[in-house]
Symmetry: C2
Subunit: 273 residues, 2 copies
């Protein structure tokens, strides 16, 4: 899905919702059982219940990888269950160099069937460009995340006015294929989001942290909006949607939550800025 | 394998060789064929031919992950083929937070059967401590790598005398379970290795870049040696050993290369410092 298609999809669906798929058997409806088949059934039900209200789905690869070889099949089947009209994001946070990075990209884009993959920037250019070499795909680089530990390194240099996350935005913009970059920016501190938007006015931002982690949709839009990108935001919601109910109505409850979010997003899209 | 056991193993074997297992079908001996079974046969032959000369093996997870579910089984079987007297390092460079990090740790330590895993520090404390919570396991954090892109971010702040890699060493030393940390430091620029050693005198360093990438064993030992840790170095050699021959004698050729390296390491261990 290219940039224009993504913008069109956001406008058509009046939504910029990304549904996180982090299936935790301990929090899934008990009637589904446990094990790989239960996880796949759960994912399929959530996808089916929300795909007209969402523009993207984001399976968190750790939740599949920890299941061993079975998990691999569940991840592939989950990706296959996401309709082609939605962006398929593998949240993998990979980061290695050269031909190793190419193999991680092949895993994400070819073996799993993702349209986009999250990547950690630590090792620099030769750890990112192998992902960017895939022309129809997106690479979503970690920038300023919303976890407490983010201050350890992502803000290194901030006292001199040059936090690491800003350098990540600036330097990665010079990489070959940079037009296929998006960035991860947490929702919990809108002031960072506004600074990020000022540095990368023309990039989509994947924003986790709305809902369970305490960020609000309104503050995210206020800080991070880009009108020419139909907002330029993919707001990820995971737990509050996936685990809206542990009963037989879990898919219905997930849909209600998705609908509530989509309607709030439609209001943001309607607002002139 | 705890710290004392690792030191004893190095002294007993007169070796601190880590054998990288990055099996690339395009470079493997043609008579083995291609596909998952050929890769496993190749790995097993390399392990069998070198395990008395090495103290660690390091499968590069990307090379297995890109094969899909089959690759997972090959990774598990490869780990199982490494004798228990050798450290099993999953080179995965994972990095995510909280319960996601715990799942990556479970994948590495439980599903794959690794003793150690490489981790990227970008997201900070809550992305590293979940790995350190595994008491009998090692977490090997990226510090100063030897790839060209390392300068993009790992050296951010260097002009003010505080490169990011130094902050990684210093801050991670305060993490809960820090005694189970090692660090990745590239071999190609010994001056960094000396600086790293000065900051972390009591940690093992995993050092790639000797051989194919141009670092020399002598300069690595000169710069990074810690006498009380029997050197405190795990020197990784991959391509020059795995692909020493593409003929029927590939395992024998790998053994010769391992022997050559081990003998040079024995000399370093014998040298009084």
């Amino acid at each position: 899905m290219d940039r224009q298609k993504l913008i069109d999809t956001i406008r058509t669906k009046s939504s910029f919702l990304c549904v996180g798929l982090d299936p935790d058997p301990a929090r899934m409806p008990p009637h589904l059982g446990k094990g790989p088949e239960a996880i796949l059934a759960f994912n399929r039900a959530i996808i089916e219940a929300t795909s007209d209200l969402a523009v993207a789905f984001k399976p968190n690869v750790a939740f599949y990888e920890s299941l061993g070889a079975d998990g691999w099949a569940v991840l592939q089947e989950t990706m296959a269950a996401i309709p082609d009209g939605c962006l398929k994001i593998a949240d993998a946070k990979r980061g290695d160099i050269g031909n190793t990075a190419t193999r991680y990209a092949q895993a994400a884009f070819e073996a799993w069937g993702a349209d986009a993959v999250t990547v950690a920037p630590y090792m620099g250019r030769d750890s990112v460009e192998p992902f960017l070499a895939f022309e129809d795909k997106w690479t979503i680089l970690l920038a300023a995340t919303s976890n407490p530990g983010a201050e350890d390194f992502e803000f290194h240099g901030a006292d001199e006015g040059a936090p690491l996350w800003r350098r990540v935005l600036e330097v990665s913009g010079t990489y070959e294929g940079a037009e296929r970059l998006m960035y991860v920016v947490g929702a919990t501190r809108p002031e960072w989001l506004a600074e990020v938007r000022a540095v990368v006015p023309d990039r989509f931002l994947l924003v986790p942290g709305v809902g369970a982690q305490g960020g609000t949709l309104e503050s995210v839009c206020e800080a991070g909006w880009s009108e020419e990108l139909a907002g330029g935001l993919l707001v990820n919601v995971g737990r509050s949607l996936m685990y809206a109910s542990q009963g037989f109505d879990f898919a219905e409850a997930a849909r209600s939550e998705a609908r509530r979010l989509q309607e709030a997003m439609a209001e943001e899209l309607d607002r002139s800025r």
